[in-house]
Subunit: 307 residues, 4 copies
Amino acid sequence: MSTEYYQQVIGRIYNEILPFHGKGKVADYIPALAEVNPMQFGIAVESLGGGTAMRGDAATCFSIQSISKVFTFAMVMSRVGEDIWKAVGREPSGNPFNSLVQLEHEKGIPRNPFINAGALVVTDRLMELYPRPKEAILDFVRSLCGNDDIYYDHQVAQSERDHADRNMALAHFIKSFGNIHNEVDALIDVYCHQCAISMNCVDLARSFLFLANRGVNPADGKRILTMSQAKRLGAIMATCGFYDESGDFAFRVGLPGKSGVGGGIVAYLPEKLSVAVWGPELNAYGNSLMGIEALERFTTDISSSIF
Amino acid sequence: MSTEYYQQVIGRIYNEILPFHGKGKVADYIPALAEVNPMQFGIAVESLGGGTAMRGDAATCFSIQSISKVFTFAMVMSRVGEDIWKAVGREPSGNPFNSLVQLEHEKGIPRNPFINAGALVVTDRLMELYPRPKEAILDFVRSLCGNDDIYYDHQVAQSERDHADRNMALAHFIKSFGNIHNEVDALIDVYCHQCAISMNCVDLARSFLFLANRGVNPADGKRILTMSQAKRLGAIMATCGFYDESGDFAFRVGLPGKSGVGGGIVAYLPEKLSVAVWGPELNAYGNSLMGIEALERFTTDISSSIF
Amino acid sequence: MSTEYYQQVIGRIYNEILPFHGKGKVADYIPALAEVNPMQFGIAVESLGGGTAMRGDAATCFSIQSISKVFTFAMVMSRVGEDIWKAVGREPSGNPFNSLVQLEHEKGIPRNPFINAGALVVTDRLMELYPRPKEAILDFVRSLCGNDDIYYDHQVAQSERDHADRNMALAHFIKSFGNIHNEVDALIDVYCHQCAISMNCVDLARSFLFLANRGVNPADGKRILTMSQAKRLGAIMATCGFYDESGDFAFRVGLPGKSGVGGGIVAYLPEKLSVAVWGPELNAYGNSLMGIEALERFTTDISSSIF
Amino acid sequence: MSTEYYQQVIGRIYNEILPFHGKGKVADYIPALAEVNPMQFGIAVESLGGGTAMRGDAATCFSIQSISKVFTFAMVMSRVGEDIWKAVGREPSGNPFNSLVQLEHEKGIPRNPFINAGALVVTDRLMELYPRPKEAILDFVRSLCGNDDIYYDHQVAQSERDHADRNMALAHFIKSFGNIHNEVDALIDVYCHQCAISMNCVDLARSFLFLANRGVNPADGKRILTMSQAKRLGAIMATCGFYDESGDFAFRVGLPGKSGVGGGIVAYLPEKLSVAVWGPELNAYGNSLMGIEALERFTTDISSSIF
């Protein structure tokens, strides 16, 4: 489909979505996120044929939060291959408050790389692979979306660190099983930074295009993951990308994707396109309320999903 | 692709899979299943264009067990529509031994229709919709695959009933929350029968073709589910169809599907084909060991999955 | 101390406790209990030296419910001795909604004989020891308190049976592990009857006097349990007798005892006395609100507890 | 009873207990404990009338570990009174691996002061009450047993700190609920020191005599706790003092007490005596195997327990 077509689609959706303002709640677990103006919404579509469709606040940067888990996991997967599955699983976790029990039952092996416990393990490995992990992550993301202005929002990173007790608890707990190797303080520092990467919808859509393109960045032809790895990363996103709403997202939207509590969601249709949405108000599961509504309309309108 | 092509693919896979005999374990939770000869393996592919490819014991009947949950759910979904989600969820359950805790926390609403708890609720509703539920289920399955010889294996059904304490526990527990309406004994009778439907790989592949065909049975053009319902049923299978191995199945195979402890697995590629495999030996998660190996090779060989 | 002394003590307590009327909530899980007039309160003390002190509605019969678990356990303990610990544990269960998880983790061995799961196992064994279990239980209780008028309230028993889904779930679940041997229906029938025994405070205080007396019924000199068994039964009551409020009861009252959702509580001070209270209004843990308040005052006033 | 009598009793027990050497396993979770010579066993009895009976290695110092939780709790209880129950509960926790779930469900309020989570909260409050907490703890223990040579084993404390990931996980988790106020590093430092107090059986028996004496240290007549507080602390020990073996300890021994993974156990009989045992080899629950065997014989021989 042409960029004009997608531009029309998201224009229509944009108007339908605006009335949802006020129905969700901006993340308040760290002050830096709570301050974000909720009255914003953006959407951007990148098609593999080339071309960007965008609408609303698609050029406004926000905190990508858990979307960063896809980037760090891709970095580690491309380097250590199948060995990563000794450190982290690939099954849905089922229940938020069970994660600690599961860790205990399952000897410190987190259920999947997209729950916090799993992402901490992934970042821990990344720190062993890259001597300067924070620079490496930023370089990777910049190269994916071709935007060298991508940066860490240090205020958000600091706010995360100041409220990191849950993640520190997880990290120490996993470390007690031997599945985290670095010092917890250093790990949390990297982790809080990756969550604090600031990007806009256009950047995010571009950064996921290599997944729609079977592992190769279409902008420069560089292979990031093998075709098999790209497909498998998609499978994990489809089953585990939205916490306890993963099944519902598959049901309603039907695309592999990942959300963050900053209100962003990125998803893609293999061999076709990637799409990013952003609306700071979250639903009860911590996913962007307007974002999911918009993506449900999007796959309905274009009559395409993976199912 | 042509039937000849698929015939070649599954012929090759068949030879690669035979050495796996002996690596799994036949289900022994009921005597009637434990008696099955483990040295069997069959595979059948039905393509939407028409034509059947089959290899090995693809014409031998076996107990479909939990695959029946897809049939009963489709029957109920087509009649009650969205209201079914008041009675059952659509999220992965995460952990087998948690299902009872989840039921307690979540007020007797099972996580999804493909765990036993959820399937019991679905069958309970089916009993309210159809005055003669056992006949209705058989009629439905027969019409899907065009084979009027499909039958209940009454010996297996009886064996199931004789060992139904876990399912009776679940049913009474859910009933205590008001989410089961029929007498538990009557419900368990229907449930044990649906699990004891006897079908072969060719039957099963045909019976799932309406899902690959967006809700319409290609044999007679009859719409079973709306396109949206068909896609959504696929999404639930992709995230919840293989118990605690659902994520792994998505990762390795990448198709929506459903397994049964009788050793059968059916899956489909939307708008293309359906595929059924059968090998009685199970892996640690209760899914056919040879079946998953075969399907992983299948989607690799045909270079197609939903991801 | 003399009976007059205890009469004065409980007279004082009675007046202090009356204002608590209305602060709790009558059990409503079965209709037959919900109909009980909440505006009642009774207390009775039996001292080993002989003599009964009683106040308020101490002669009014009520449903003893879970207090019956002490009787059935004593019957089984006296016959099978240490072997009972292969079927049931003696540790606090910690958490109501965990009981099903614990059963799963711990292979169908309930944590202790005073949670429902454990009491079902005990009654199951009792049915193996006594050909006519319902008669045997009644005989045992009658002999303990010397009152041949003790009876089953059949209306309550029927109401229990009509609302037994939770207990049937537990029984089937335990049976799936092989730790229940009888038919679940027959077991639930006996169990619902034992809960429906109708007694008053004086009967109950007398029926526990053999525990205060180290295993010998002081009325007829008959040994019910060995001294060691009597002490050990006391230890289990002290740690497990009040569900999730067991620690709190030890903390506030400091006596071994057992409660029932009918609003009764019986406790005893070794070598001294037994005391029964009854107030139908329950606190959040399902124990008599006025009963616990009264017993806390009682051990404070007589300056004696086991601690 | 006279000191000579107790001397005879423990002499007999000592001989019966020696054959148990080799049946347990020295704690190995920190290197400093793993190095302890397992072939040691000591027992000491202090009676309220005065006089010390001791046998075996009763004068050899060892790491008191979790027994310290009684000391810190008594210090805090005596100062903040009933308010402590806003921060920590008094119910058995039921299950070791549930402690984290319970913390989550119960909003960071640990079940009781004798599981690690609860003891961390207690030490956190102690740090608010005493500007120099490590000195204060040592002073308190020294005054209880009248031995100014009691000291921190700094090698053990350091070893604890080097392996504190589980406790740091707990502390950060509780802090995320707001129920820990100090910096986690500072808290863990104090906590690791209190566990590393080095005492022998005679010291320990003396240090618990104030509990047997209703709150007053018999050596100097100083009231440590009110009578009610002393009794209530005993009730918590009786229900929660031995982790998942608390019910079993009540059943077999029948005294309020507290164990530590260093192999020590202290218990007391109200208004009579206190008794300390030490054997480094632990059973599966982390309690001294020889210690529990010895104490079971002790209460049997003297025909006294609280039940």
